[in-house]
């Protein structure tokens, strides 16, 4: 019995030693990978700047099809303020932008930039009415048409929904991706914790809310996975150049959080997370109340079933809240980041958006982009 027990332990010890040796070899290979030239640049597609307001700018992605074959209704991507938008075009094999370009859409994106101390007095009115309004105006003039497509992502989706409600004639088709509209839910920790924030004290003390504060908040949502397990997993694959490149690229994005303009942050947190004014029809932007029922254009609503940042409950009710008769709502078995970067995102989610826009962007009065519009 004792001999059998000893044999078990001996076998286990041998296997452990083998594992340790393999680990050492992996570390050596990993060092070779880390010290080699890694492709960690973000943003797979070339862009050109079309217009600029302050620190923000409107950029156009270089089309893959000839200008004459582009669909007449351009798509403007409105991303969140809390992260950088190159997540939509992170790398060649993980790019939602590429899928849109592949079907012949003319794709633009608002880059909100990095707010400086002088931007602390920018409000939601500025972001939604002034900046979005001006950029849509530029696109309308550039394409000589009265409306454009908008793809709103996360908080950018909330902005897009508000703009679409206030200016429905400006938007041809509205796609919302992992967009929070109903903030009164306990399904997400952000929704619970946001109640603990005295936003007046925060903004009055800090001015702009630091990007680092946002980073720490996001990490604390799942500290074990995001601060520990993730890096254990990194060590397990450190000898793979592709893995390391992708990992570093993601790390760049995760920790590239801009500061949040103080007044806009104050207004957003109070009006949405604290008072849920949007679904109640009490939110006021540009002196006007936002009524989601005024969203009458076709709407595509995509959300993630395992989203820990924007819980499904925040997005699921959009079809009932808007006034549109043409609403497509679809959920996917993935998390928030998975909607952009997973393999399924490339195979299913991004093509869903692209084909939805393409079907609704064929215009009998089609005109190629004339590249008009002031900078």
């Amino acid at each position: 019995m004792a001999q059998a027990s000893n044999q078990v332990w001996e076998a286990a010890a041998t296997a452990m030693l083998d594992q340790m040796v393999e680990f050492q070899k992996r570390m050596i290979r990993g060092m070779e990978v880390l010290t080699s030239t890694l492709d960690t640049d973000v943003g797979a597609t070339d862009t050109e700047e079309v217009h600029k307001i302050g620190n923000t700018r409107l950029v156009r992605f270089k089309p893959v099809k000839p200008e004459s074959e582009l669909l007449p209704v351009p798509v403007m991507i409105v991303y969140a303020l809390v992260n950088r938008p190159y997540m939509m075009d992170l790398q060649d094999d993980r790019s939602i932008v590429k899928k849109l370009l592949d079907v012949g859409l003319d794709v633009y994106l608002i880059d909100w930039g990095y707010p400086r101390r002088g931007d602390r007095f920018l409000t939601l009115d500025d972001y939604i009415e002034r900046f979005m309004g001006e950029y849509i105006g530029v696109l309308k003039a550039r394409h000589e048409r009265g409306d454009v497509n908008v793809l709103g992502v996360c908080q950018g989706g909330t902005f897009s929904a508000i703009y679409a409600a206030l200016h429905p004639t400006d938007i041809r088709n509205l796609a919302l991706m992992v967009t929070p509209i109903d903030f009164d839910t306990r399904d997400g920790l952000l929704n619970i914790w946001s109640k603990a924030i005295d936003v007046d004290l925060m903004v009055d003390t800090l001015g702009n809310v630091p990007g680092d504060f946002m980073n720490i908040g996001f990490l604390m949502l799942n500290p074990w996975r995001l601060m520990f397990d993730k890096y254990i997993s990194f060590l397990e694959h450190v000898d793979s150049k592709d893995f390391v490149s992708n990992f570093v690229r993601m790390e760049k994005w995760i920790f590239d959080s801009p500061d949040q303009a103080g007044e806009a942050f104050r207004q957003f947190l109070k009006d949405t997370y604290h008072q849920n004014k949007l679904v109640k029809g009490e939110m006021v932007i540009g002196g006007r109340k936002v009524n989601l029922k005024d969203i009458t254009m076709p709407v595509l609503n995509l959300f993630a079933e395992r989203d820990h940042l924007v819980p499904p409950a925040s997005s699921r009710g959009i079809p009932d809240l808007v006034g549109s008769k043409d609403v497509t709502s679809e959920s996917f078995p993935t998390g928030h980041i998975g909607m952009f970067t997973s393999a399924r995102s490339q195979k299913h989610y991004a093509p869903t958006i692209a084909s939805w826009f393409a079907e609704r962007s064929k215009d009998s009065a089609a005109k190629p982009a004339s590249k008009k519009g002031k900078k």
């Binding site: 914790w193 109640k195 924030i197 004290l201």
Partner: protein, 360 residues
């Protein structure tokens, strides 16, 4: 003195304070004697008495010579009053020195209340010598309240020592009653809750005293900053303490799971499963904590304490920067706000011009 008096009156409380210190003073004297190179060392009672007598004598000689220089004072009467005042001060010092010698010889601190009373009287006598005109009643009352502060300090110190002593006793009984020396996080939190309550009843009240004088504003900012720092420490501790509980629960769960896993074949895969179990257990327990109202309250308190401390520090920094050519953050914000308003106005005017141009 009755037991109640001992615990409630300033004299009683300071007497208890003295009792606590008698042993300390005795030990200190022994230490001094052991440290001295000879029986007649500086700190021995006889040597100190000789020193104080010499000091008083040389001070008197020095002052007399100074007072003989008439041009120091505009009138002879003022010079005479000042001389009497300084002599009284020397007498006070003489009395203090004699008392120290006496109590050192007796090995105790004496009656602190009597010390306070004598100090009051000597201070009053000093003020009477220095101020020529008869004191009006309000001024006497002010002096009276001023000379009361040692008693007030003794009573406040007594109160504080009572709170502090109670807290230490409770903490000690908690620690010593803990099984295997392990104190549950909640009990540690209770201990620190009573600490912050004690702070609010004692030192916290000092920080809230109104400031007076030319540096009033700076003083107030200091007090607010110190108070906010104490609250930040307390809030941070509470927050960190709350993170212990899920860690302990996750570890307990992991221990159970590991015991089960170890019953089967032990391979590297077993350890991989143990690791996965550790991460899943921690994830689950932390999620339960993070959703709880208690944690949200602690988070709220900690965030507010951090921001308040940061806010107070900024105020102090700006106080110092005011006298320098460095622009402060508040000043820059004022400029930024003005620039923002001007930009908005320009935009609106542009829109109007555009409308007019389009209409034409």
């Amino acid at each position: 003195m009755s037991k109640q008096d001992k615990e409630t009156t300033p004299g009683g409380l300071s007497g208890r304070w003295a009792d606590l210190h008698k042993a300390w003073v005795a030990n200190l004297n022994d230490l001094m004697e052991q440290a001295s190179t000879s029986q007649k060392s500086f700190f021995a009672p006889d040597a100190f008495q000789a020193f104080s007598e010499n000091w008083v004598k040389t001070q008197s000689e020095f002052l007399r010579k100074g007072f003989e220089m008439n041009h120091l004072f505009p009138t002879p009467e003022l010079a005479e009053r000042f001389t009497h005042a300084m002599e009284t001060q020397l007498q006070v010092f003489r009395w203090w020195a004699d008392t120290m010698v006496k109590t050192a010889s007796e090995g105790g601190m004496g009656d602190p209340q009597a010390l306070v009373e004598t100090w009051r009287k000597s201070y009053g006598a000093l003020m009477e010598h220095m101020i020529p005109t008869p004191l009006t009643d309000p001024f006497k009352a002010l002096l009276g309240s001023t000379t009361d502060w040692p008693s007030n300090l003794a009573s406040l110190t007594g109160e504080w020592s009572k709170v502090w002593t109670d807290m230490m006793k409770r903490g000690w009984s908690t620690m010593s009653a803990a099984p295997d020396g392990f104190v549950p996080p909640k009990q540690i939190r209770d201990f620190y809750d009573s600490w912050i309550k004690g702070y609010e009843e004692t030192l916290g009240r000092w920080f809230k005293l109104p400031s007076i004088g030319p540096l009033r504003r700076n003083q107030e900012h200091y007090q607010e900053a110190l108070d906010s720092y104490v609250r930040l420490c307390a809030a941070s501790f509470d927050y960190a303490n709350r993170l212990l509980e899920p860690s302990i629960k996750a570890f307990e769960e992991l221990t159970r799971q590991t015991a089960e896993l170890m019953k089967g074949d032990i391979t590297p895969e077993t350890f991989r499963q143990i690791y996965q179990q550790m991460v899943q257990s921690a994830e689950k327990q932390f999620h339960v904590l993070f959703e709880s109202d208690e944690f949200v309250r602690s988070l709220q308190t900690t965030l507010e304490a951090s921001l308040s401390f940061y806010h107070q520090s900024q105020k102090l920094t700006e106080d110092y920067l005011k006298v320098t050519p460095v622009i402060t953050r508040t000043e820059m914000d004022e400029v930024h706000e003005e620039v923002y308003e001007l930009r908005r106005e320009i935009d609106e005017l542009r829109q109007q011009v555009k409308k007019i141009a389009t209409a034409k």
